[in-house]
């Protein structure tokens, strides 16, 4: 049985070797290596485009950007305009129309599928400019994009890499950047800011209505708040400092947190607040006089509860190994 099998195997091997030899003999002995075939070149569709569409004053605009510098401005027209320089042809996809005016009420702006079928559905351009009605709501997501938004009602931005600047947004801001800085100025409403690796700067922010809060989170970066008038502030960084300049409002709840950085509060000398500080292996110092309500000085579990003024705001400050510094603004 085995002998028979080996016999067959030998025959098969001989045939294989013969075939291999024949293939080698047919091919030239030293032929040059085949040249790599270049990938098919897509027709160049980059250019300058401008389009506009009628929209209701409170239109919701969803925008996706693969790459480019994006500038979005509010204007007084009931119209959405998009301008792309050195980029792909944009297109409007109306997701919902207003029942009365038949104008666009919900709009998606992306790359025109007809111009380049194989390309991303997200806009690409060196510069992308949008004009939206003042009352518009914007939802933008992007891969590599610098985004600047100004004078609209509400903005939501989610960017992988790039910086986000928001200014004069009246109905709330949500910004999330995984690598890059976030800068928010003169905005109203609930504010939520998040940076993976980057700094967050908030300047002159107010709540739109009672209960609107301010939240800022960064993993590696500094959070700076100046003139933030929200009564609920929650700011935290893992590997960075948290800086707050302003007053604690009566009844306000403030949370400042860092794992390995400094928390610096620059307050008016007549500030009021109950400071509940847990600083583990770190330090606590205040240039403003305070009354100690409770104190624990054991290593790793250091904490203090101190009252400044009448103490009608609650201020929680937490750091594992950083320092907490309260400075007087005068």
């Amino acid at each position: 049985m085995i002998k028979l099998f080996f016999g067959k195997m030998n025959r098969a091997a001989a045939i294989l070797l013969f075939l291999g030899g024949a293939a080698l003999a047919q091919s030239p002995p030293k032929s040059p290596p085949p040249k790599s075939v270049p990938p098919p070149v897509r027709p160049e569709v980059f250019g300058t485009y401008e389009k506009a569409i009628s929209a209701v004053p409170g239109v919701s605009v969803k925008l996706c950007v693969a790459q480019g510098e994006v500038k979005i401005n509010g204007w007084g027209r009931e119209e959405v305009r998009v301008f792309v320089r050195s980029g792909r042809d944009p297109f409007f996809k109306i997701l919902e129309r207003d029942a009365d005016s038949n104008k666009a009420a919900w709009l998606f702006i992306g790359n025109s599928p007809a111009s380049d079928p194989g390309a991303s559905e997200c806009l690409t351009g060196e510069t992308i400019e949008l004009d939206l009605p003042f009352g518009a709501t914007l939802d933008i997501s992007g891969r590599t994009a610098g985004v600047a938004v100004e004078s609209i009602r509400r903005a939501k931005a989610k960017i992988v890499e790039g910086s986000v600047r928001l200014r004069n947004v009246s109905g709330g801001v949500t910004a999330e950047v995984f690598q890059g800085d976030v800068f928010v100025e003169s905005c109203l409403g609930p504010i939520s800011l998040q940076a993976g690796a980057g700094n967050i700067t908030a300047f002159d922010l107010k709540p739109g209505e009672i209960g609107d809060g301010f939240r800022a989170r960064t993993n590696s970066g500094t959070i700076s708040m100046q003139g933030v008038k929200h009564r609920q502030i929650d700011a935290g960084s893992i590997f960075g400092s948290v800086f707050f300049e302003g007053s604690f409002l009566p009844g306000g709840i403030y949370d400042f947190k860092t794992t390995n950085g400094k928390v610096r509060l620059l307050l008016p000398a007549d500030s009021n607040g109950k400071i509940i500080a847990a600083y583990g292996f770190g330090t606590f110092q205040s240039a403003i006089p305070y009354k100690v309500l409770a104190d624990n000085n054991t290593t790793g579990g250091k904490s203090i509860v101190a009252q400044i003024g009448n103490g009608n705001a609650t201020v929680n400050v937490t750091t594992a190994s950083g320092s907490i510094v309260i400075e007087s603004a005068q």
């Binding site: 294989l16 080698l24 993993n219 590696s220």
Partner: protein
């Protein structure tokens, strides 16, 4: 700067991703402890980011530093010396055969042929050969493993029998009543180091409310390597550093809470660190989702 602080060359190598894995871990843990070095690396990282954004496209063409060139050269040399017979055979075949497809086909035919010859030879040597692994020595589930079984991780398990951990393994086998193949399946599964596993192995118990944090973190940690593969070098450095900072903080505060369970401040810091770690891991997952959604 303290005497044991990192020098700027080491910091630069770390930021450039040129420090080896072990060195990177040491640096990360040092950064978690040393505020001066943390500030120094933050400054260097910031400079790196500024330069990256300023140079933009030019920096995408990464130019290896002298240190990296040296490592590349030594790696090439050692690879050249380590070339096995099969590598050389492969090189010879691909040199002779002009078309790679033909080379691959010929290689496949050779492999099949030698495989059949080997199998037939095995049958002749061991007529009782059976593909089903049966080891009389393992019937009681406590004896040494059969060294002749050609299964993955066999060497590892056999070696384990000679280590001080063997008694623990035997105890585990006795307790769980697992047979060899089940043990091998377990051993073949990827090992993921987690804080809880470390804690359980040390016989530590969870602090009140800690378990849910740890479980959430475990869930988020799965697949985090793949999620971070698309991060830039500085992004990966930041992520690893942040994780190291949080782990160091959790470790330290856990000790404090363990010593004094009534220490509310320490507990607050500990849970804040856990929450930060959850946020950090969630952020990595969300980032990946966003990248996937932007085609």
């Amino acid at each position: 700067m303290k005497q044991d602080c990192l020098d700027i060359g080491l910091i630069q190598a770390y930021l450039d991703g040129e420090a080896g894995p072990a060195a990177a871990r040491e640096i990360a843990s040092h950064l978690a402890e040393c505020e001066l070095c943390a500030e120094a690396i933050a400054a260097a990282d910031s400079e790196y980011s500024t330069v990256s954004s300023a140079l933009g496209r030019e920096i995408d063409v990464m130019v290896p530093s002298q240190r990296l060139w040296e490592r590349i050269s030594s790696e090439i040399e050692s690879n050249g010396q380590r070339k096995s017979f099969f590598d050389r055979l492969h090189a010879a075949i691909t040199a002779v055969l002009p078309v790679h497809g033909l080379a691959a086909a010929a290689a496949a035919v050779l492999v099949v042929f030698f495989g059949m010859v080997f199998l037939i030879g095995e049958r002749q040597v061991n007529p009782d050969y059976s593909p089903v692994v049966t080891s009389p020595q393992t019937k009681d589930n406590t004896g040494p493993l059969n060294a002749s079984v050609t299964a993955p991780n066999n060497d590892m398990l056999a070696a384990a029998a000679d280590t001080p951990a063997a008694s623990a393994r035997n105890e585990f086998v006795a307790r769980t009543n697992l047979n060899d193949s089940q043990l091998r399946r377990i051993a073949a599964q990827p090992v993921v180091r987690r804080n809880t596993e470390a804690s359980v192995s040390r016989g530590e118990t969870f602090l009140p409310g800690e378990e849910s944090y740890i479980k959430t973190i475990q869930g988020l940690q799965q697949g985090i390597g793949a999620q971070n593969a698309s991060l830039s070098v500085s992004g990966q450095v930041s992520f690893e550093r942040d994780i190291a900072v949080l782990d160091a903080s959790i470790r330290k505060m856990r000790e404090v809470v363990r010593r004094n369970p009534n220490d509310r401040a320490a507990r607050r810091i500990l849970y804040a660190a856990y929450q930060d770690k959850i946020d950090l891991l969630s952020s990595a997952a969300q980032r990946q989702e966003l990248i996937a959604s932007i085609k």
